[in-house]
């Protein structure tokens, strides 16, 4: 397990999660562990689709979500088809191959789930999924997703602004950063139990943003895509989407959001600091040490012969975030 990150200002546990909620969650997780283990034993479809012409995606638990479609967040770009969005995932908790999560996470039960917001806030709280649904109205936001591996997608997310959630907790003036944490449950996430499945990463997966980045209106917590709730492999039940940063910043299956006064550790930065920085803004001029970031392959329809290599844009084309970094050397702070 990862080293525990301690902000310099500490809070007592009773300010964080009510004990009964905590115990209830542990009990349910234990029960659900068996469901997850059972799913591993079920036969699953291979990555190579040999004979069938239409891909079958068996995700019965997806439910339609009510949402609005604000005009400013729609797009004329070609969307990446649902089948590709849900079978090409970097989610090492379910395996390092991009087709692994769709297979291994299919039995991942997301409900019940709690999301805790705490740290340097006036009003720490813990929400269940039902509360999220009730308190926040969902918008469809069509965002480009640029992976650090130089491929990209266009995805219609359903979500709400992270800022609106953080405001409810009333951040203290000392808060400068926001730390995110994925569920840690090796029974339900096989990659956390076996390093040959999970790539030997220190789990739980953690990520972070500056408070300014977190409050930016483009930053959302997504609970769905393509009009329905998130499939497990895409980070159900709730994940971050920061469209101007490389995909690994958009942490999946979040259980905790903590406001801190120190820059929190982030998983990939801890693993290879010379390759993955804290900021990880999409930037065609700053290469990954092992490959160029000047262009990317856009994954949409079309097979091998699709001419889909396009130039990468600074901040993934979301120039409105540039003021956040006006005093920052983007080469040093990659």
């Amino acid at each position: 397990m990862a080293r525990i990150f301690r902000p310099s200002q500490q809070f007592t546990d009773n300010q964080v999660t009510d004990e009964s909620v905590y115990n209830q969650r542990r009990q349910l997780i234990k029960t659900l562990g068996f469901v997850g283990a059972g799913a591993l034993l079920m036969p699953s479809a291979g990555a190579v689709d040999w004979f069938s012409s239409s891909k079958k995606t068996d995700m019965p638990q997806l439910r339609p979500l009510k949402h609005t479609k604000p005009a400013e967040y729609q797009s004329s770009e070609t969307l990446t088809p649902f089948d590709k969005v849900t079978t090409h995932n970097n989610f090492y908790e379910f395996g390092t191959d991009k087709s692994d999560p769709a297979k291994r996470a299919s039995g991942f039960a997301v409900s019940p789930w709690t999301l805790t917001v705490d740290g340097l806030v006036e009003q720490p709280f813990t929400l269940g999924l039902e509360d999220l649904d009730k308190k926040f109205s969902l918008q469809e936001r069509i965002y480009r997703l640029r992976c650090v591996e130089a491929w990209s997608m266009v995805i219609p997310w359903l979500g709400f602004e992270l800022g609106s959630l953080l405001e409810q907790a009333q951040p203290l003036s000392a808060a400068r950063f926001v730390a995110f944490e994925t569920l840690y449950d090796p029974q339900r996430m096989p990659g956390q139990a076996n390093r040959f499945i999970g790539g030997g990463i220190d789990y739980p997966y953690v990520e972070g943003l500056t408070l300014q980045e977190a409050m930016h209106p483009l930053t959302i917590l997504a609970t769905g895509l393509y009009g329905k709730s998130l499939p497990p492999q895409n980070g159900a039940p709730v994940r971050l989407v920061v469209p101007w940063k490389y995909g690994f910043k958009s942490i999946k299956s979040i259980v905790r959001i903590r406001l801190t006064d120190k820059q929190p550790p982030t998983t990939w930065n801890r693993l290879a600091p010379q390759e993955y920085g804290f900021y990880a803004n999409v930037n065609p001029d700053v290469d990954h040490p092992r490959w160029s970031q000047a262009s990317e392959r856009r994954i949409t329809d079309g097979g091998l012969l699709a001419r889909n290599r396009i130039p990468t844009r600074l901040f993934n084309g979301y120039e409105e975030v540039a003021p956040l970094y006006k005093n920052l050397d983007l080469r040093k702070n990659y």
């Binding site: 990555a47 190579v48 689709d49 040999w50 089948d83 590709k84 969005v85 079978t87 090409h88 090492y92 390092t96 991009k98 087709s99 591996e149 491929w151 390093r195 040959f196 999970g198 790539g199 030997g200 990463i201 693993l271 290879a272 040490p289 092992r290 490959w291 160029s292 000047a294 262009s295 392959r297 994954i299 329809d301 079309g302 097979g303 091998l304 012969l305 001419r307 889909n308 290599r309």
Partner: protein, 221 residues
């Protein structure tokens, strides 16, 4: 069953032809299948990446098979196995070439400047490209006529396959984002195969020096 291991088994001409045909069908069939599926967009969500993996890993697998053939031919009472080694080796080269072609045509999409800079600046690409060039030399020197002309130097040249294997595995390991995974099993297999050839490797390291002074080596012979 006992008899099988007591008496050396000679493969008839027909048996060798059958074995080689099976190798052709398997290796060529797989290659054609993955390319066709990728063109039809039925090889995973990103057919380019899937194709790169299929050809690259295929090449490494075939290289491992060629490295297994000579220890097997020595230990099993069937020395004729060695007669299909060249074919497997040539398929290893073909897969590596297909891997490079897929990278250039479908990943970089014929961006030659990018290709040049990636080969020069990115160590794992440099390593992979070096392995491919070595395999090219081995494939080009594989016909019988060239083998006869190179005489004893042929073996010295073809022992570079060990370096190819190491570079290929390094390229594979380096291309992934985390260390834990399949490459570790391949390295273990590679070390095991090399441990069978300790004395050969020692002799080879001496003869490599003479390879580049052809006069000295031909005078000796």
């Amino acid at each position: 069953m006992n008899r099988l291991f007591v008496r050396p088994i000679r493969l008839s001409r027909w048996q060798v032809v059958t074995l080689k045909t099976a190798i052709h069908v398997l290796c060529l069939g797989y290659l054609i299948t993955v390319f066709s599926l990728a063109i039809l967009d039925r090889l995973g969500a990103d057919p380019v990446e899937s194709l790169l993996h299929a050809t690259g890993l295929g090449s490494i697998n075939l290289l491992m098979v060629t490295l297994c053939i000579s220890p097997l031919a020595q230990r099993l009472p069937c020395g004729d196995l060695i007669r299909c080694r060249r074919l497997v080796g040539l398929y290893c080269f073909s897969y590596a070439l297909a891997h490079f072609a897929a990278y250039l045509l479908f990943e970089l999409q014929l961006d030659w400047t990018l290709l040049t800079s990636e080969i020069i600046e990115r160590p794992y690409i440099t390593v992979g490209f070096t392995a491919l060039m070595l395999l090219l030399v081995l494939a080009a020197t594989s016909p019988n006529a060239i083998q006869r002309r190179l005489r004893h130097r042929w073996q010295t040249v073809h022992n570079f396959v060990y370096l190819c294997a190491a570079l290929g595995l390094l390229h594979y390991t380096w291309s992934l984002k985390t260390l834990w995974g399949n490459p570790l099993f391949y390295w273990a297999g590679f070390v095991l195969l090399m441990s069978q050839r300790k004395s050969k490797l020692a002799a080879w390291s001496k003869s490599v020096g003479t390879l580049f002074s052809p006069r000295a080596s031909s005078e000796k012979s």
